[in-house]
């Protein structure tokens, strides 16, 4: 078989090109060797992106509901997984008035367990995670929706009575959980700003 010169030169060029690109690897291959050791410690992290969950409400002839959300991510290299809990940050689970703490407040809705979640009471607030117990419905993040139109809700437990939202059985990388918060008011609720703090807890199992 006769090989044309142009193919021969082309082949030599290809080989030379590969040799050129791979030459650093070839050079490093003849240098000293070393042992790379990495110790990976156990760790767990929790994050969210939005600094606040803020809603506004403008009640008219009938009560209105506003819904906000918060996406929480958990990562861990623990092979037994993690639990994610939520509770109010202290012994109060009311949304307290900024100008008259202890005087005005928006209390929690009635259901205390995910299994009994239902629509918000008038002048109350609640939370839910879709798929948890009876947390189902249309959780649309927007203000001033019709009362009862925003799915089912649970009362936020006080600190120390945390509700377990998720329990996993393996490692996790930015495993997300979306928390929805709903507030319902009618015109009997004092005009004010109302606030409460909640705490998410991530712990390995």
């Amino acid at each position: 078989m006769k090989i044309s010169k142009k193919y021969l030169y082309g082949a030599v060029g290809v080989v030379s090109g590969f040799a050129l690109v791979s030459s650093p690897a070839l050079v490093s291959a003849v240098t000293d060797t070393t042992t790379v050791e990495a110790t990976v410690g156990s760790a767990i992290s929790i994050s969210n992106t939005t600094p606040t969950v803020s809603v506004s409400l403008t009640p008219g002839g009938s009560a209105v509901e506003s819904v906000g959300s918060d996406t929480v991510s958990v990562s861990t290299n623990d092979t037994d997984g993690y639990t994610l809990d939520v509770a109010a940050s202290d012994a109060s689970n009311d949304l307290d008035s900024a100008t008259g703490p202890g005087t005005y407040s928006i209390g929690v809705t009635t259901p205390t367990t995910p299994a009994t979640a239902t629509t918000l009471d008038t002048n109350s607030w609640g939370w839910c995670v879709v798929g948890l117990g009876s947390c189902s419905g249309s959780y649309t993040v927007s203000n001033n929706q019709s009362a009862g139109a925003s799915g089912n809700w649970i009362a936020m437990p006080v600190s120390g009575s945390d509700v377990e939202v998720k329990s996993t059985s393996g490692t996790a990388s930015n495993d997300t959980t979306v928390f929805y918060y709903g507030v319902n008011v009618d015109t009997s609720q004092e005009t004010d700003t109302y606030t409460d703090a909640v705490t998410y807890t991530a712990l390995v199992k």
Binding site: S16, N48, P51, T79, T195
Partner: protein, 303 residues
């Protein structure tokens, strides 16, 4: 330029560009994230610490708190009682267990700190075990909790704090009784969908915790390894029973597998080997319908 030089040059350039093309196409898979969304992330390491110490003595240790997000935060550290509920080990911070008293023995060297993105804080603490502490395991959880930025907490809103915890396991030395057993296991022969599930229940009847190392190996009927996983240290606390799961999320929708499940704890070992058939319900129903139809047709033909 002569033709042979031209061919050499073209060939060489083709080789170089093809290699750089391969390299660049590999990197092109990872798009650069140009979003500047504010993300607050707190990390704690390690997730558990274990110490053996005599009553009346003390020791000092530490853990790390890391800011892995892209925004500053202030965090506080504090301790709470720790115990578990049920075989799924749901955490309980209310202090109902007699062994959840170690939180009273912890003193932090500092309780509040500020971290910028990428920074790490080493938090030291001292555990002082009282003279009358009972022998065996005592537990607490050490929390690191982000604090809301007061400047950003205006108006009607729900302020969120995030906390991560490290379980503190203090074993007070003395007449330590390590005792436990695998009560039973669950590895159903017929499973209808992914994940393939298996588990075993381990009972700790001693007065101190112990760790279980467990593994699962799944092979097909020809002996080819299809899945393998290990859990290195699953803690079982005194006077509790823990269900330890070994699941395979990526199992095929249809298949026959041989599953080897094993656990070692203290100086004991537990092994089971079973076959598992993964088959969807609709396929079972289809097979039943076909068989019934075939039998009916055979009956009609005979009569």
């Amino acid at each position: 330029m002569e033709k042979k030089e031209l061919y050499f040059l073209v060939g060489g350039l083709l080789a170089v560009f093809s290699l750089f093309g391969l390299i660049s196409s590999t990197y092109a898979v990872d798009d650069i994230d140009t979003t500047t969304e504010s993300r607050e992330e707190i990390t704690m390491s390690p997730t558990t610490q274990k110490h053996e110490i005599a009553a009346g003595e003390s020791y000092t240790s530490s853990f790390k708190v890391v800011n892995n997000g892209n925004t500053d935060f202030t965090f506080t550290v504090y301790t709470r009682p720790f115990s578990v509920e049920g075989e799924e080990y749901s955490p309980d911070y209310s202090g109902t267990s007699a062994r959840s008293d170690a939180y009273q023995w912890v003193q932090f060297h500092t309780t509040e700190s500020f971290l910028k993105p990428g920074e790490t804080e080493e938090v030291s603490y001292t555990v002082r075990v009282p003279e009358g502490a009972s022998i065996g395991g005592h537990y607490a959880v050490l929390f690191a909790e982000t604090q809301p930025d007061e400047d950003k907490t205006q108006g009607s809103q729900i302020v969120r704090k995030k906390r991560v915890g490290m379980v503190l396991r203090v074993n007070v030395s003395g007449d330590i009784q390590q005792s436990g057993a695998v009560l039973d296991s669950s590895l159903p022969f017929v499973q209808f969908r992914a994940p393939m599930t298996s588990s075993f229940r381990v009972r700790n009847s001693g007065n101190v915790d112990f760790d279980v190392q467990s593994s699962i190996n799944v092979t097909d009927v020809f002996g080819n390894l299809k899945y393998s996983a290990t859990k290195a240290n699953t803690t079982v606390y005194p006077d509790t029973t823990r269900r330890i799961e070994q699941n395979w999320d990526g199992v095929s929708w249809l298949g026959l597998y041989r599953v080897d499940l094993s656990a070692t704890y203290m100086d004991k070992s537990y092994n089971i080997t079973r076959y598992v058939l993964v088959i969807p319900r609709w396929l079972i129903a289809l097979i039943v319908i076909v068989l019934v139809g075939w039998a009916y047709a055979a009956y009609i033909k005979r009569h």
